[in-house]
């Protein structure tokens, strides 16, 4: 079945530490790929997207993600986490037009 998997439900990191959030998908062709962030009580905000070209994409707030076709992965990274990064992060995949599938999310806690 087609799916988007975020294997980590909850991650805790110390402020200043590096971060990697995992995302795998199981669609045949290379879909469009996205990472969104949701702060408490808010809607989702786009962090970055991959459509084609360079497999390392830069986003807002110092985040980046790398598309690895061989692993069907699109992991999100940040070299140094800030307390304001505490939120829920969603990976999303658009296999075709007019449709978007989300992972179940990873909640990030940042400790001082």
């Amino acid at each position: 079945a087609q799916s988007v998997t975020q294997p980590d439900i909850h991650i805790t990191v110390s402020e200043g530490a590096s971060l990697e959030l995992r995302c795998n998908y199981s669609y045949g062709a290379t879909p469009y790929l996205f990472w969104y962030v949701q702060s408490p009580g808010q809607g989702l905000q786009l962090l970055l997207k991959y459509f084609s070209g360079d497999t390392l994409v830069q986003g807002i707030k110092g985040f980046e993600a790398e598309f690895k076709r061989s692993q069907s992965s699109f992991n999100l990274r940040k070299p140094s986490v800030h307390w304001s990064d505490a939120a829920e992060y969603f990976c999303a995949v658009a296999p075709g037009a007019n449709n978007l599938f989300f992972g179940t999310g990873t909640r990030l806690t940042v400790i001082p």
Binding site: G43, Q45, F90, N99, T104
Partner: protein
């Protein structure tokens, strides 16, 4: 900047009531979406629309209907609300395969 506005942040309704959730976008986007968000389940697509008066079922359309009479407005309707429809509802819009722009959500409680 794209703005997607959901008319209510919080709603409390009784079982059996007819509920309307309204969403308006101001960027002339062709695509509009309704998702519900539940802990541990992520976002699940209820319905989407790619043009006025057009609608397509998403993954969990049962118990819901939608209306898109104008391009900027996409309404989600719960014909007879039930307690298992207590959830966060998120509206989004997009143009083509561009990223979705989300509203801030409506937290609906059905008692």
């Amino acid at each position: 900047d794209v703005k997607v506005t959901q008319s209510s942040r919080y709603l409390v309704k009784r079982t059996g009531e007819k509920v309307f959730l309204e969403c308006v976008q101001d960027m002339d986007h062709e695509n509009m979406f309704w998702y519900r968000q539940d802990p541990g389940l992520g976002l699940r697509l209820i319905y989407f629309s790619y043009d006025v008066k057009m609608k397509e079922k998403g993954d969990i359309p049962e118990g819901y209907s939608v209306s898109r009479e104008k391009k900027e407005r996409f309404s989600l309707i719960l014909e007879s609300a039930s307690t298992n429809q207590t959830s966060m509802y998120l509206c989004a819009s997009s143009f083509g395969r561009s990223p979705l722009h989300f509203g801030n959500g409506t937290r609906l409680t059905v008692t």
